[in-house]
Symmetry: D2
Subunit: 348 residues, 4 copies
């Protein structure tokens, strides 16, 4: 068995997405954790940063410069944007990279510059990157050297919308995406707004009209539609650790109704192990996907004639980040798509 395992480096292992990559790879039958980087914590054992992993067999953290790349087949990168592009540019060519940052998601350097307020340092790499929405870019991912995993919100939005837009079942004008997220999506950074006493027993909208996941959603919806689409995307912070919930309000197209949309989604995802429809008549719930790589969808007719209400729920750290990264790694290396991802949701 050991022969058939690949060696994986987790770059930026001290954040929450890095930690969830460790969690998933620790039980992966075809991959072993061969390197862990975290510059601020170089030299420390993983269990000092994340005591929950005291039983995981993994090397201590090191600086990214110290990784022995000869030994590495794949890198899963959990660095913040901007840092990611610089670090990834220096990784040797033979290493295949799954990046969880935002640096290679936007195909257009101009759009990147506009939303991230800086020029891109690795436009060539960007040109070759594949957008890692697993269910929709499987073939390209299989051949890619660099896969840019979608943001958590875009994963939830696009898994729901791409099939419906492609099938012409919804209008692309005035798409309203009301999104709610748990707090782990904000990472482990020390910001006042992430303190328990600010978040618990409370909720609010944030980034109104200005969240960086909007252009990413628009990029992919536009590709699906065949024309440029702009969407409303309004995120809210909800007092829970994990979970993301999107409520999408759309005009039906061509006389379609929710039932047509359910049929469409069923067909598109028939063989997708991680996308499913909620039971008929039920809205999805984040507790039904917590800790798993599952994205759950639903479609309802609105009382407003000609309109529908669509839902998408996932765990932002799994299908919204590290889980999809592992799924993409599985696709890139020809493993079973579910390897290391078979955990059932943890509820309660």
């Amino acid at each position: 068995m050991a022969n058939s395992q690949i060696n994986v480096a987790i770059i930026g292992a001290s954040g929450y997405t890095g930690a969830d990559a460790v969690r998933l790879l620790a039980a992966h039958p075809r991959a072993r954790i061969a390197a862990l980087t975290g510059n601020a914590h170089a030299g420390k054992p993983l269990a000092e940063i994340f005591p929950q992993f005291a039983s995981v067999d993994a090397p201590p953290l090191c600086r990214v410069e110290e990784v022995d790349w000869q030994n590495i087949d794949a890198a899963i990168c959990g660095l913040p944007h901007s840092t990611a592009q610089d670090v990834i540019a220096d990784i040797p060519e033979h290493v295949r990279i799954i990046d969880m940052s935002a640096d290679f998601r936007l195909r257009d350097v101009q759009v990147y510059q506009e939303w991230y307020g800086r020029s891109h340092d690795a436009p060539d790499l960007l040109g070759g990157a594949v957008y890692g929405l697993s269910e929709h870019y499987r073939a390209q991912i299989a051949d890619a050297r660099l896969v840019a995993c979608p943001g958590c919100y875009p994963t939830a939005a696009l898994t729901l919308l791409i099939p419906l837009v492609k099938a012409g079942l919804i209008e692309t004008s005035d798409l309203i995406i009301d999104a709610k997220s748990g707090v782990s999506g904000a990472g482990r950074s020390l910001k006042e707004q992430n303190l328990f006493a600010e978040v618990a027993e409370a909720m609010h909208a944030y980034g109104v009209g200005a969240h960086r996941h909007a252009p990413e959603i628009e990029q992919e919806v536009s590709l699906a539609a065949g024309h440029s689409v702009m969407v409303n995307f309004t995120p809210h912070l909800v007092p829970m650790n994990r979970g993301e919930y999107l409520s999408v309000y759309a005009k039906a197209a061509n006389g379609a109704g929710a039932q047509d949309m359910r049929i469409c989604l069923e067909e598109v995802y028939r063989d997708a192990p991680f996308v499913r429809l909620a039971r008929a008549g039920l809205a999805p719930a984040t507790r039904h996907v917590r800790g798993s790589n599952i994205c759950e969808l639903a479609a309802f007719d609105d009382r407003l004639p000609g309109r529908v209400i669509l839902f998408s729920a996932l765990d932002n750290l799994v299908k919204g980040s590290s889980g999809q990264a592992v799924q993409n790694m599985n696709i890139m290396f020809g493993f079973d798509e579910t390897d290391g991802l078979e955990q059932q949701p943890l509820y309660p």
Copy 2:
């Protein structure tokens, strides 16, 4: 001072809205709690049902039939719908009634029947009831014998929408109301979906296309618009005790923008002690109104041209129920509108 106090009966004091009425009246300078009913708990002291009120001077609970109405000036009714209409019909004429149930909110008996699945037992009372949205029906409330306090969601929605609709600043077609609520809105009833282990660390939509607050919102928006309006109203359950948050997606009318809407709301609520706009550029947050009778509003321009994003936040048990009930009582009896309602929000 005692002479100038009124005697208030709280009918249905063992639920959460009844409890919050006790909390507010306990410190009210012009009202004293003269009777408390709770049929399942008759004979027990209040502190047995709600130990937090061990220091409150109040009579033990009794059956509603046992209330000595001669002694009572006002009744605040926290019973469930259906029960409320029957009990209220038997209260002597001299008692002025503030009802927190849904029984007298819908002006049209047919609509009531359609949404509540039963005929109305007290259509005459319904005819004379005043819809108790304090800021918009102050004059009628002052003269009313029976005030029907709006539902929590309708209070949040209408406080935001009525001024904008009346001023012709938003279109009334395709109004999307995405609502999020804490769990106390579901009351103290023993339902599996209200268990901690079902709600904590989780969220989901419910009552999609079928929530009984929709016709109530539509009734009042239609009155404001001068024509029949239908809205999308989609509630979600969020893991917190108190708090309600509405995100409304609307088309601007007549070339208006968010700034026009802020000015309109500022003007309409200039003298309203409990309605305020969030600071410029900030979305409201439920933690900024928790435990208080405040409703906080905001308006943003959408990235989608010609559209706006509107927000409304309140505490569902206070402004969304018992606080507005006390506010209405204050108006009915000519007290200061803020009597008993001057608590600042409790945060963290």
Copy 3:
């Protein structure tokens, strides 16, 4: 591989411990779920009771009388106490049983009667039952037909205390066990005290001096000590779904200190895959074991001379219930002890 799998019935699959047994068995390499019972839900698919399991391959729920026992090798029983003993008495002899109820934990029928207020219906079965504290009764479990999994609190307490008592490192007089638990330990039953609005943002002690896990702890500590021991056991409810945390205050014996106790625990659990000490100087934390079968221990010297402070943390639904049940099943059937239990903790 299929040949080597056993068929497992989960009896009482609609509660939280039953659900967690499903979660763990769904990924178990040597066991398949062959029957699920839940009398109130007979005929319904599992996904109707627990939508998170929509992707699990399992039969619909049936009444316990409908189970085809011929086909079953093992039964994991998640019924409430009292019910469990009656149902288990009727299961055919060839089926090996892992019971998660309290019915077969107390070795003395008199003690059972005293604490549970009823006589025991299956004293013969009780006589043959093995107390399923995996790490301490491995040999007996391997040979048992009926294993009584310890309660969640006793598992945490005994994993910590048995080695120290056996080694004579702590006094058995005046043992103080201050216990804190998440809410899922109370199960899915409809009780007011389990409502979200009663539990969230709050904590309190319960069952002071009267919790049924006290005699269970005392039974096993007495066995370890070789004489009768009585303990203080005071449980508290904490607003979280999963997790149990015990702080034990004890007098050191024979001049021992915390360091001696750590060495003792390290040695006793050297080969135990699911028991570990927290990093030196750190108290355990429930987030470091959440969702896993791990029990984490620690020992500190008290400032009070001659005293120590001991800690034990676990996930009440896993090591405290279903996980230990699966671990016991593994031991009974000669599987790897970690089969189906290799999930890393889910944090955040």
Copy 4:
């Protein structure tokens, strides 16, 4: 009425204790907020730091050097320890000071130095400071210029223990104080351990054997006992904003039982508006005191003969800090002790 109001400066108004002082003073009949300091936020309106206070009539924040002390009668100080002693030393003599920091609680400069790792800069002020446990030092507080409000844990512990120790009802050897606190006690500082994703759905002990509230408790218990007492004090962090819960395990003295202790506590606190016993047979609960200045106590006989289990619950930001500060201010200025503190607990 205005004539009879005093002018209060809140020093350090941008933390949580400062904010709760604002909340309480905003509705105080005899005090007005005349100055607010917060050096990092000087020049900003209060509502920018705490948007919940948008409706409060208060001056903008200024630097402490900018306060016009001539105008000020009292200062409530919410600064961190060390900073507090330096700032307070510079406040003019005519201003009476209620300090919520730890700087003036320990009567012995040596003990301060040992636990806080620095020498004390204002030993003279320390000599004149009164320990502000309102119910036990009322007379001295009334005359004091500088009152040192007890820590939150010591308030809960001492309110429970001082009467019992003075009455000789419990032994002072081997007192075990297992304490649990919500997160707001850690203040608004940016530390990883205070992030929502670290705290929610989790709990753990901290500061084992080394928490700075231990010497404070010991100082006052020793005074009550008339001899030097050392205690076990073990705090735990629980996922809630507000609330503190102490479970104390003690040996009864002189044949006393829990009933004697309840009678003692009833008598001592007969006229204390903010201390009460829980209903007979019930443990206190933090939700029954949340947001209020109430401390709730209880006493139970242990199953271990000759031992008792005692409980104390309060809101750490109110009775544990700002509420007791306002209570002390009331005593110092001859106001009603309950002025500004009559809010009932907020639950749910």
